[in-house]
């Protein structure tokens, strides 16, 4: 496993800021602009094609009903038949509009991606080592191509020779260049990105037309969108409800005739359209497209809608310790002086030894000396004159020589040898402190000084893993959502336990090897649980493939990206938590609008049934509790409400319903109240208000 240096080296402040932005967090709304409704209108009109409508059984019934009403309205044109027919067509149109708006948002994104896919000429290597120039579209798997500074990489592949900086902003939107080199886990390059320096040889790993950018375009455009399992099940249920209401309305006609008052086609169609679940039927595909879109906005590419849905179902999250739960590098957290040295002596020595040390550990030591011991952050001129001794594999120490003083810090055994070599002694106390730190899961760095012919150990610096701020709260939230978190780490069990306890994860896997990870995933899955994980290395690939939701880091290898079902372009492992929330939000939005749609029916009965039958049975007029003006105005008001509610709910469908992590029972109670009870009440108000206007139309009121 490699670490992703970009994110893991983020400073505490950056992370704190990130979490502050997320505080009081709810999934943000994707921007919705009413102007989108207008610009999507042509596309919505195009979707009136019956072949398109047939994919959605609910709206197809509305389409057929509208067509029938049109025939009827043409043969018997009255104000009522014309207005009713027009609004029936509006119902279909508004459903199309919802879908068109959702798709339109992806289209803009696809357009900018397409621009990166401009025709590139590849410099393909022949077997004899000479180059030939071929169009990028002709490259096949296994081809070797040369790319030099300033050139665009012609296809997805792995670097097999050389090292280069690459500008991946076309795909990730991140302007800082990244390093790609042969071997290891940073060898993957993406077609369409630009090499900024040096020369690399890339082995192509995808077929033409199936590259990452191609797939991205297809995904954001929604062209390859297939209905997800859950969406299919819901469509079946909606179709069944439609059939039931169709039967109810069709059977009503003979009963109405028996009762002495047969109804017109338009009135029956109006009743049917109002009863079948048009609201959710109209918005269902927009909800799905928008769900994918929300992921894309967060720079996550889901390879299938199924994966997004599965994210909502996840029971177990496997999180890598380093970079996800803790900062990527260990940080100095404590200075422990030994012998006669004071803590200030140690702080001065430690600071000196690290001033010129650019490693994250070194910087963290200076930071600690500055914040906890009031020393200067910047080196003085005198200090700058000192000679820096960099860390070397042989010495396993680093330090500084200045004015005849030598300060060193490093691994215990090395510093010990250095002290003894310079005639000093290492007290037993040092070993006690060092062992204590190791047992707590920290890393000890011994700091020693040689001055005036005396070598002595000043003390021990404790380096430890620092849990990112806010993680404990997030894990608590996840727990309340019923999701178990498991920390994966290469540390020994002792260290792992300490960090797991501090971070508040439910479980941990210590000394984890890739096969252990795999075994853990299998075990969880056998228990009926869905598992999500992130990974970037080639050795993560099997586990990524096995997991139900596998998020590959964009910085990772091609193998990892191929195995996972999502790719995070920001390569931020913490984002897994957001992905889960987006998955849940998608399902909740569907459920909420389904409930709302069905709950609406009650009011529509109260509007339409008395309008239809009060003429035969005056007693039924008592059901007109909204006091709608006339039968015609009642029916038209119900139809108008039914159509308008679709438009009014488009923003909600695109944005997704508000979601805060909470237990299932509290989510259910809240959403049932808003969308169930609200769904019963809203149409009573809506229809009543619309009727106040409709009754003013001559010929109806």
């Amino acid at each position: 496993m490699t670490t992703n240096t970009d994110t893991r080296n983020r400073s505490v402040e950056e992370v704190q800021q990130h979490h502050a932005e997320n505080a009081g967090r709810k999934l943000q709304a994707g921007a919705f602009n009413p102007r989108q409704l207008l610009s999507s209108l042509p596309e919505a009109l195009r979707k009136l094609n019956p072949r398109h409508q047939m994919r959605n059984p609910v709206m197809f019934v509305v389409w057929v009903g509208s067509a029938l009403s049109t025939v009827f309205a043409v043969s018997q044109p009255t104000v009522f038949t014309i207005v009713a027919t027009v609004w029936l067509w509006f119902t279909v149109l508004f459903a199309n509009l919802a879908e068109a708006v959702a798709e339109g948002r992806g289209k803009a994104q696809a357009e900018s991606l397409r621009r990166t896919k401009k025709e590139s000429i590849a410099r393909r290597l022949r077997e004899d080592g000479t180059e030939e120039r071929v169009p990028g579209t002709e490259l096949t798997i296994g081809d070797l191509v040369v790319v030099e500074a300033g050139e665009v990489i012609p296809g997805d592949g792995d670097v097999v020779e050389g090292i280069a900086t690459v500008d991946e902003s076309a795909i990730t939107g991140e302007s800082a260049p990244v390093i790609r080199e042969s071997g290891g886990d940073r060898c993957a390059v993406t077609g369409g990105t630009t090499v900024l320096s040096d020369r690399i040889v890339v082995q192509i790993t995808t077929k033409p037309g199936e590259s990452f950018v191609d797939r991205m375009i297809a995904l954001v455009e929604g062209a390859s969108r297939q209905k997800t399992p859950n969406e299919i099940a819901l469509t079946i249920l909606l179709a069944v409800l439609t059939i039931i209401f169709l039967l109810a309305v069709v059977a009503l006609q003979p009963m109405a005739i028996y009762s002495g008052n047969g109804q017109s086609v338009i009135v029956l169609t109006a009743l049917l359209v109002c009863l079948i679940p048009t609201t959710i039927g109209a918005l269902l595909s927009a909800i799905g497209i928008a769900g994918m879109d929300r992921l894309v906005q967060r720079n996550v590419l889901a390879m299938s809608g199924r994966a997004v849905e599965a994210a909502g179902d996840v029971d177990t999250l496997l999180l890598d310790k380093t970079g996800t739960i803790t900062f990527g590098n260990r940080r100095a957290t404590e200075l422990i002086p030994v012998g006669t040295s004071t803590v200030d002596d140690l702080a001065r020595a430690a600071r000196l030894s690290s001033l010129a040390d650019g490693t994250p550990e070194g910087r963290s030591i200076v930071e600690l000396c500055v914040t906890a011991h009031g020393l200067a952050a910047e080196a003085s001129d005198a200090e700058k004159a000192g000679e820096f001794v960099p860390f070397a594999a042989q010495t396993r120490m680093s330090g500084i020589d200045i004015d005849g003083r030598m300060v060193r810090k490093g691994a215990t055994s090395s510093v010990r040898a250095w002290v003894i070599e310079h005639g000093g002694q290492v007290p037993d106390e040092v070993h006690e402190v060092v062992d204590g730190i190791s047992q707590d899961g920290g890393t000890p760095l011994v700091c020693a000084e040689y001055a005036n012919g005396i070598a002595l150990v000043r003390g021990v610096i404790r380096l430890s893993d620092v849990v990112k701020p806010g993680m404990k709260e997030r894990f608590d939230e996840l727990r309340s959502m019923g999701i178990k978190t498991v920390m994966i780490t290469g540390d020994n069990p002792l260290t792992a336990r300490a960090i797991a306890a501090e971070a508040g994860v439910d479980d941990f896997l210590a000394e984890a090897k890739p096969e252990d990870k795999m075994a853990l995933i299998r075990k969880e899955q056998e228990g009926g649980k869905l598992v999500a994980m992130t990974g970037d290395g080639t050795n993560d690939a099997p586990a990524l493939a096995q997991a139900d939701v596998g998020v590959a880091m964009n910085t990772g290898t091609s193998a990892a990206k191929e195995a996972g079902n999502m790719v995070d372009l920001d390569s931020d492992p913490t984002k897994l938590i957001e992905i889960v929330e987006i998955g849940k939000q998608l399902l909740i939005t569907r459920g909420a609008l389904t409930t709302f749609s069905i709950a609406n029916d009650l009011a529509k009965y109260f509007a339409i049934l008395p309008a239809m039958f009060a003429a035969i049975y005056p007693g039924l007029g008592r059901l007109n509790i909204m006091h709608l003006a006339t039968p015609a105005s009642a029916i038209i008001s119900a139809v108008i409400f039914n159509a308008l509610i679709i438009v009014l709910l488009i923003p909600l469908a695109l944005r997704g319903v508000r979601y805060r992590p909470a237990s299932a029972s509290s989510l259910l109670r809240r959403n049932l109240l808003i969308y169930g009870v609200g769904g019963v009440i809203t149409p009573f108000l809506g229809i009543w208000l619309i009727d106040l206007l409709v009754r003013l139309i001559p010929g109806i009121g």
């Binding site: 099940a233 009503l252 006609q253 009743l271 049975y617 008592r622 299932a664 959403n671």
Partner: protein
């Protein structure tokens, strides 16, 4: 003590008696269908029919078993009726016509017990005892077996086996229905229900005319008629007849017998899945619907609105004076809520609203609390729909009792639910515009429509009670009602068994804080909501022209 207080006292007694037997009977039935051991009597039966009781079956084999058994039962019952004149104990009663024999055979095998004949004139003791009574036992047992198979679908994981249909039917008869039936047959006899092999006695009435008062082995059939939620009376007047239901005590016991198994099966369900709260939750939905409809019928009957009833001072037309309004309402509510169809009053004479309540009770798909077995499996199907509809709102793929609800589960649940409304609406819709219907109806207008709706609702839900007033002997009604009984019974059974097979094959998902809680008041209201939505909203337009119009006029 006035009428209302007497009714409330009966209601309290009934609920107390049900509460007392709920746990022991429910747990006993759970044991009966999970224990490995066989009784000697059962082993002997398995040997006769050559069944290995320890082998288990896939859902499809189980379904073939149910269908095959039912088909053979129809054939046997048909022949028994047709050959009544040459077989013993025929009492010299006439030959049965093919259409009546067929209709009756289907009716009793499907647990409907719709009767288009006058029993004391049509059938001798052999048909009654060896034919109809036997079906009263086994058709109930089939319902229980299907319910048990569905429950096993939830309790099992990673298997394609649902149990053995022959073992389940046998145990339902031998271990559950028979012992209770024997006990209560004796009790009913002690309270005055007739049990005789004589064909009847000749008497001279007070008007001096000669009458034959029919006698029959009533008590032995009466008890299973109620216990198996069958409802087909030995005597034409059914439980309104003093030989079937002589007094208040027998009336109360009969209502108790109607409700006891459907109610206790919720306990069996809870015990078998290892979470009794789940059973209580479903029971609360059943109770809510049963109680709600009881309130409607009782109130409606106590507040008559017809001119005749207002003149008479109370709506006693078609009711027995020895039961009065509360006991009649209690009986009507229980018989329509359980697919029983036995009656102690003429439902046709109920007020508009009261009759509508009885009708709606059936249109709930018989789950308040439903027939033996059919009640629990039907409400489980509604629970699945409820979980799917509202369950999405917790942000997970809906799960019920540890099983994910996907495409297959929703399709099967939908088929199970769709069958009944389709049958009722299509056939009632056609029937009302047929010219012949006008002749068959004694009433026109809203009440006439109610009569037609009631007939199809009763047949399609395998209830069997009749609104009367509609002469159903013409070919259209005989054949379509027969179709409704058969399809209304077996389409849901096939869908439920297929559903059970799919559920059993799934792995079990352990519950977590993120799982939709499926016990407690919130979920109960969701299930009740789904029932009201699917069952009631579907029929509101039709009901508006029938009982609602009648009630509001």
């Amino acid at each position: 003590m006035n009428d209302t207080w007497a009714g409330l006292l009966q209601l309290a007694l009934l609920l107390a008696a049900l509460a007392v037997v709920y746990r022991p009977l429910g747990d006993y039935m759970a044991r009966a269908f999970t224990s490995k051991g066989h009784w000697k009597l059962e082993r002997a039966l398995y040997k006769v029919v050559r069944v290995n009781p320890d082998s288990e079956q896939r859902w499809s084999t189980y379904a073939y078993g149910v269908l095959g058994f039912s088909f053979v039962s129809v054939l046997f019952l048909y022949l028994l009726q047709r050959l009544q004149t040459v077989l013993p104990l025929g009492l010299g009663r006439p030959e049965i016509s093919p259409s009546v024999a067929f209709n009756t055979a289907v009716s009793f095998v499907t647990n409907t017990n719709w009767q288009s004949y006058v029993p004391e004139q049509a059938f001798g003791h052999l048909v009654q005892m060896a034919g109809l009574t036997v079906q009263n036992f086994v058709s109930g047992a089939v319902g229980i077996a299907v319910a048990v198979a569905l429950i096993r679908g939830f309790t099992r994981a990673n298997t394609d086996r649902l149990g053995n249909v022959w073992v389940d039917i046998t145990r339902a008869v031998v271990r559950v229905l028979l012992p209770i039936a024997v006990l209560f047959a004796v009790v009913l006899m002690g309270l005055g229900v007739v049990q005789s092999l004589s064909g009847g006695v000749d008497v001279t009435g007070i008007d001096g005319a000669q009458h034959t008062v029919a006698l029959a082995p009533v008590a032995s059939q009466e008890v299973i008629k109620e216990l198996g939620t069958n409802g087909g009376g030995v005597l034409n007047a059914n439980s309104a007849h003093p030989f079937e239901n002589p007094n208040g005590w027998t009336n109360l016991i009969e209502i108790f017998l109607i409700l006891v198994i459907p109610v206790s099966l919720t306990r069996t369900f809870g015990t078998m899945i290892g979470d009794r709260k789940q059973g209580y939750t479903l029971l609360s939905v059943m109770t809510f619907l049963w109680g709600g409809m009881l309130a409607v019928i009782w109130w409606a009957e106590a507040h008559p609105n017809g001119p005749a009833a207002l003149l008479a001072g109370s709506a006693m037309e078609g009711k027995e004076t020895r039961f009065g309004i509360p006991s009649s309402a209690l009986f009507a509510d229980s018989t329509t809520g359980t697919s029983t169809g036995a009656v102690n009053a003429a439902h046709d004479s109920l007020t508009g609203l009261g009759g509508g309540g009885a009708l709606l009770n059936m249109l709930f798909s018989e789950i308040s609390p439903g027939g033996v077995g059919t009640g629990i499996y039907s409400i489980l199907v509604f629970a699945i729909i409820a979980v799917f509809l509202a369950g999405l709102m917790v942000g997970r793929t809906p799960e019920y009792l540890g099983k994910k609800l996907g495409r297959k589960e929703i399709t099967m649940a939908s088929i199970a639910i769709l069958a009944m409304p389709t049958l009722v609406l299509v056939f009632a819709g056609i029937a009302v515009v047929l010219p012949a219907t006008g002749d068959a109806l004694t009433n026109s207008g809203a009440h006439g429509l109610s009569e037609v709706l009631y007939a199809y609702a009763s047949a399609s839900n395998n209830n069997g009670s009749a609104f009367g007033g509609l002469t159903v002997t013409n070919d259209w009604f005989q054949s379509t009602l027969g179709v409704c009984m058969a399809f209304g019974r077996f389409i849901p059974i096939l869908a439920v068994l297929c559903l059970a097979g799919g559920l059993a094959a799934q792995r079990k998902v352990p519950p977590s804080a993120g799982t939709l809680p499926t016990s407690g008041p919130l979920f109960a209201s969701m299930v009740a909501g789904s029932v009201l939505l699917v069952a009631a909203l579907t029929f509101v337009p039709a009901l508006a022209l029938g009982p609602i119009a009648e009630a509001l006029s």
